[in-house]
Symmetry: C2
Subunit: 236 residues, 2 copies
C-alpha cells in the first residue's frame, strides 16, 4: 500500500467525514449484510488506544425484549429531561426524534473495560480517563465506517446506564460508553437534524480555534492560517 | 454528492482507518502547509457532538517555551510512571519513545467546554460525560484526516493536566482532553509501535465482540456473522 493518499482516496475519506450523520429517522427494516457489519466492527477495533490496551467490547443486539427495555429507559429519561426546559422550547424538544432503537435492525453497546491488560497501561498513568477516550475513538471509527457502507448510525445518549448494565448483564467494573442504532436508511440528511431544526447553529471553525493560549486570537506566527480559517470554506 | 460510496471512495476511507498510526518518531522539521492544517482542523470540527453542542476548542501551539514546559511535564510524569513497574519491563518501558513534543512542528491541545450552548444540552441530561465523548470523536476525525494528508499525529497522554491548564491559561471550567503532536514524517509504520515492540498483541476481533449480553458467544441469531468475525480477516 502506497503511503501517500491519492486525490481520489482523500476525496473518499473526506466524503465520509462530511456526509456522516447522527441518524434517528429514515431507518428501513433491511438487514445489514454480515460482511458489511464485520467491516464496520473491524474499523472500530482498529482505533488507537492508550498503551495499545484495546479496552473496548462490542455487544451486538437484536433481541426485541432487550430493545424494548432500552426504549422504555429512553422514554423515562427523555420525559425527565423535558422537565428541565419550559415553554415553546419544551414542545420543540418533545417533537424532535432522538432515537431509532426499535426501527433499526441492529443495536450495539460499546463498553470500556479498565482491567484489560492492566493494571499498568502505558500512557494511562497520569490521566486514567484516556482509557475511556480510546473507546470513543473506536466509536467514531465505527460511525464513519458505517456511513461509508451506506449504514446509518445514531447514538442514543438519553437512557440510564444502570438499566443498560442490568439488561446486558455488565459486570460492575465494565462501563457502558455508548448505545448506538444501526441500519440502512432511505436517505442521509445533508445537515445535522438539530441544525436543520434551527435548534443550534453550526459554529464557524474560527470560533473554536485559539493560538498558543486560551482565547488568544492575536498571533503573528499564525497569520496565514488565520486567513484560511476565517474564510470558513464549506467543505461539507 | 452521490449518497453511495464507490469502491474507490471506500478504499480511500479504509486506507485512512488501517494506516493511521500513533506517531512519536520519524517527525521531520518540514512545516505543515496552512491549507492542509485547516483541512485537518475542519475535519475535527465536523465530528458529531451531543445535542450539536460542538464543545471543543483547538489551541494551536508552536511556541518553543510552551513546548519545553510540556516536555518537562512529560519527563516528570514518565519517570513517575516507571516507578510502577519493575525489572526488565521497567527498562523496556524507559526505552520506548512515547512523545514527539519538541520534534513536531505543531502541537495542539484539544479542550472541552461544558458551558457551551448550556446548561441544557439535548442528549446530555442523563449521561453528562457524553460532552467529553464528543470531543474524543473530534480528535479521532483529526487523527484520520492528518493521516490522509500525510501528517503524523501522536497523542501525548503522559503529562500533567494541571501544568497544561497553567501554561495554556485555561479557565477553571475548561477540561483539557488531549495534547497531540503533528508533523510530516519520514515514514508511517505498518503496525503500532507497541505491537512491533511485542509489548502487547493485537486482539482478534472475535475477542471483543459479544452477542446480546456480556460475554455471550452462543448466539444462534448471529451464527453467520460469527463465522466472518472468527475468520479475523486482516484488512490492515
Amino acid at each position: 500500500m502506497d503511503e501517500e493518499f491519492s486525490d481520489a482516496e482523500k476525496a473518499g475519506f473526506y466524503k465520509a467525514i462530511y456526509s456522516r450523520r447522527d441518524v434517528r429517522s429514515h431507518f428501513t427494516s433491511e438487514s445489514i449484510n454480515d460482511k458489511v457489519l464485520t467491516r464496520i466492527l473491524n474499523a472500530a477495533h482498529h482505533a488507537p488506544s492508550v498503551g495499545f490496551s484495546q479496552p473496548w467490547n462490542f455487544i451486538l443486539i437484536k433481541n426485541q425484549k432487550t430493545k424494548n427495555k432500552i426504549k422504555k429507559s429512553f422514554d423515562i429519561e427523555h420525559l425527565r429531561a423535558s422537565e428541565q426546559i419550559e415553554g415553546s422550547k419544551k414542545s420543540e424538544y418533545m417533537s424532535l426524534k432522538l432515537e431509532g432503537i426499535l426501527e433499526s435492525p441492529v443495536n450495539i453497546c460499546i463498553t470500556y473495560d479498565p482491567t484489560k491488560f492492566g493494571p499498568f497501561v502505558i500512557g494511562r498513568t497520569s490521566i486514567p480517563e484516556t482509557g475511556i477516550y480510546s473507546v470513543c475513538c473506536a466509536i467514531q471509527n465505527m460511525w464513519l465506517a458505517a456511513r461509508t457502507e451506506g449504514v446509518g448510525l445514531g447514538w442514543v445518549s438519553i437512557l440510564s446506564n444502570k438499566v443498560l448494565k442490568k439488561e446486558l448483564e455488565l459486570p460492575e467494573h465494565i462501563i457502558p460508553i455508548a448505545y448506538v442504532c444501526l441500519g440502512h436508511v432511505t436517505k442521509f440528511e445533508t445537515k445535522p437534524d438539530l441544525e436543520r431544526a434551527k435548534w443550534l447553529p453550526r459554529l464557524k471553525l474560527d470560533d473554536v480555534v485559539y493560538y498558543e493560549k486560551w482565547e488568544q486570537k492575536d498571533a503573528p506566527d499564525w497569520n496565514i492560517i488565520q486567513e484560511y480559517i476565517k474564510a470558513n470554506l464549506d467543505y461539507a
